[in-house]
Symmetry: C2
Subunit: 298 residues, 2 copies
DNA sequence: ATCATTCTATGAAATTAATTCAACAAAGGC
DNA sequence: GCCTTTGTTGAATTAATTTCATAGAATGAT
């Protein structure tokens, strides 16, 4: 019924003062405008303008349509602008999924500069997924996944962003603190603090304790990295965390990183995203900035 | 670019879940919708939906368009509803022009019930006109004119609404108060209070004093009827007003109406409007209600 | 696996709508 | 009074939308 072009005409006639001038402005003939409005008037059952001599005086309906035009047309125009930005990859929303708890500290360092560089992109971080990080990626709940397990599947692409060593954290006065590396058996009298996730997602179990059929004396779970470190610094247990993270906090707390096993546990963190999104500019940029934020660790 | 029908499609697809169902709801073929959206996508340079199997998942652009649709479409629909009401004369604005100062008191009695009966009509009252009331009517500054001078001109129609007698108001202790009627000479020692308009628009001059070549001792002008009556009640002068108005106030104030001349001055008040508007329902209704509000005067 | 079903995409044809052209009428300026 | 400007209207033209017919792809059931 009322179409965008009708509003366009009403607005332009108001601006220019005549059908003829408005037609010029809209790159149409005056006749086209006359026909278009005549048809609208018939549909609405009311005139939009009163023809007085060769002047068009807006009727009450016309005045209302004009106010409508001034309200709606800018929204159309803004929408096109915005969609254009989305199309060019300059605007969007970036929902980051995290499957690597300690990486949160690292992520914060990436996100700050990223937000500055991409003022049009909204960033959100999610940490819990009903069907795992990969499922969230497939289900469009997130756009990027930060994970140590690049479960390759069709339609997804993964790229490594940084490597680090997973180490044992102990209080600096702890007997193990002086060791160059610890063995699984060393933990059998210790309290181990981990994030509250399945043991199969904890490297200290899958790659250290379980192969040696060892287990710690006690196992506590804590949600946040900060409290975890506070506990270790209070001598209430030991934990397994990235070396760079421990070194970051070692300045402020009496904690020491110790290698897990003779060769240590090396880990790699990947960023995964949907293949389809690989071309999106602000996603590529995030990947690039993530790779650059390696924290000065090998 | 983005047209109303595109928003219509986006909204309907979101509601129905598929192009096919949306097409049914919109009484179009699935093919039409597919073509329409394909064209839009090409113009925008971005997909609106990602085709996943036989499902359509909205992209970021698509989600934005959906929010736009939910915002804009109701406004289109509301606008059509409203314009329909205007077309049926159920809604509009009624700007009343007044060329009869004391009639303001009468008008208030009309407007109250009118507003109740026509909730869709906004009423405004104007009292000053650059080119007179008739000019304001022609110039669309007002829609109805309340006037004692029905200056008939092409394109305008006038209808009488009520008659009244213009009388002299004096303090009840005033020497003239006991007279059945006064002569022009009686005013030559009086202070006459009138509205601040040209003498040619004051009946006390045109139909009473000037024909007898009389004039009052002093002439004061006052804008409002209330203050005018206060002045008379304070014995500070005499004035000329409608009899019904004086009788209305005579309960509260020591004032008395006296006939002007042996036969009195009879006046008639007209409502004028543009011929073109004569069919507008809420205007007709105003005329009818105005005629009914005669204040019980002869 | 196979088949039927249910979607969407697409090209061509048909239909419908928009636009222009041309002629005319009304009003204002000189 | 004549010329210019402006809007209307009907017919012709052009452009668009819509439908039809068909094909492909994914889902679910047998």
């Amino acid at each position: 019924m009322i179409e965008r072009n009708h509003l366009e005409i009403v607005r332009e006639v108001d601006r220019c003062g005549s059908l003829t001038a408005a037609a010029d402005a809209l790159c149409l003939t005056q006749s086209a405008l006359s026909h278009a409005m005549k048809k609208l008037e018939q549909q609405l059952g009311t005139d939009v303008w009163v023809r007085e001599g060769r002047k068009l005086r807006p009727t009450q309906s016309g005045l209302y349509l004009l106010s409508l035009a001034n309200r709606l047309l800018p929204q159309f125009e803004h929408a096109e602008e915005l969609v254009g930005q989305i199309a060019r990859g300059q605007r969007g929303s970036l929902r980051i999924g995290m499957e690597c708890h300690p990486c949160y500290q690292w992520l914060l360092k990436v996100v700050g500069p990223y937000l500055e560089q991409w003022p049009g992109v909204d960033v959100d971080v999610k940490q819990r997924f009903q069907f795992g990080g990969i499922g969230a990626l497939f289900g469009y709940d997130i756009d990027v996944l930060v994970t140590p397990d690049p479960l390759h599947r069709k339609g997804l692409v993964f790229a490594p962003v940084f490597d680090y060593e997973q180490v044992l954290v102990v209080h600096s006065a702890h007997p193990l603190a002086s060791k160059v590396w610890v063995e699984p058996a060393d933990l059998e009298s210790e309290t181990l603090i981990t994030y509250p996730v399945d043991a199969e997602r904890l490297d200290i179990y899958t790659r250290f304790l379980l192969p040696a059929h060892s287990s710690p004396a006690r196992h506590k779970t804590i949600e946040t990295t900060d409290i975890m470190l506070q506990m270790v610094a209070a001598g209430r247990g030991v934990s397994a965390l990235p070396r760079w993270l421990v070194e970051e906090y070692a300045h402020q707390m009496p904690i020491i990183p110790v290698r897990l096993g003779k060769k240590g546990i090396d880990k790699q963190i990947f960023l995964g995203l949907r293949e389809r999104d690989a071309g999106v500019e602000y996603l590529q940029s995030f990947m690039a900035m993530a790779r650059e934020t390696t924290w000065g660790l090998a």
